[in-house]
Symmetry: C2
Subunit: 124 residues, 2 copies
DNA sequence: GGCTATTTGATAATGAGATATCATTTTTGT
DNA sequence: ACAAAAATGATATCTCATTATCAAATAGCC
């Protein structure tokens, strides 16, 4: 994970331009438009490398395979479209959710996921 | 899933008494105290049956296998202890989180997960 | 209590995501 | 351009949760 290959560049570019967290499959498909023949193994390898270097972070949603997004964003949450399955970023956060923890529980972190329909998906 | 077996009774009892969502493994271990020799296949089968009958519901957390809890509870969220891995119920909900969705997005549902330390786990 | 269909438990099979392997290709320093 | 080291791609393998299989046990009805 030290050399600058077309594959690695393509994958970074894809993540940079997506604006939303992508699964390995999404990364593969998007990056293959830049590097035809790109293999899934390279996607896994590269994502691990980028994770190691803290250039990207993992986004995990219930019951889904991990997605990856650029690191360094400020605190945010996610919206999953129940029609197309894509996940988007949400800027807002109600904040201070730790207060929801019952007495005796010490909350250190929280996650919020909204589910619904994204602008690209017409009502069914 | 029509007969009342000791196994089925034990599994329902375990879920009823736990007060928190349990994974299949947790159900297995707890129910084996009531029915030694209980097999994991029976746990899966019974949980599916109870789901079908809407007696229980699934609780999915990011990166974890499904957990199960009694159905019919009012809207609530969950707390996962990062030390022992157990998941607890949270009564409170800030409410109206759908407003966090960006323009054009229609949120229909939300999930909140708090992470931290439960009363049973001393600070490390 | 005995009969029959259902359920159980042990374990093999499955499925999906992720990882390992390795010959070939590519990058990079000289 | 050359050589050495690293990365790639095809694919085999692994992992682990879940499901299927089937002989043996059991619930429920007479």
């Amino acid at each position: 994970m030290q050399r600058n290959t077309r594959q690695r560049e393509a994958i970074r570019q894809v993540l940079r331009e997506s604006g939303r967290p992508l699964s390995t499959q999404e990364v593969l498909e998007a990056a293959q438009k830049r590097v035809p023949g790109l293999g899934i193994a390279t996607v896994y390898r590269t994502l691990h490398g980028l994770l190691e270097e803290r250039q990207i972070t993992v986004v995990e949603l219930p019951g889904e395979t991990p997605r990856y997004e650029l690191a360094g964003k400020h605190h945010h949450h996610h919206f999953r479209c129940t029609v197309c399955g894509r996940v988007f970023e949400i800027e807002n956060c109600p904040g201070n959710l730790e207060r929801l923890a019952p007495p005796g529980f010490l909350a250190e972190r929280h996650e919020i996921v909204l589910y619904g329909r994204c602008p690209g998906c017409p009502a069914g």
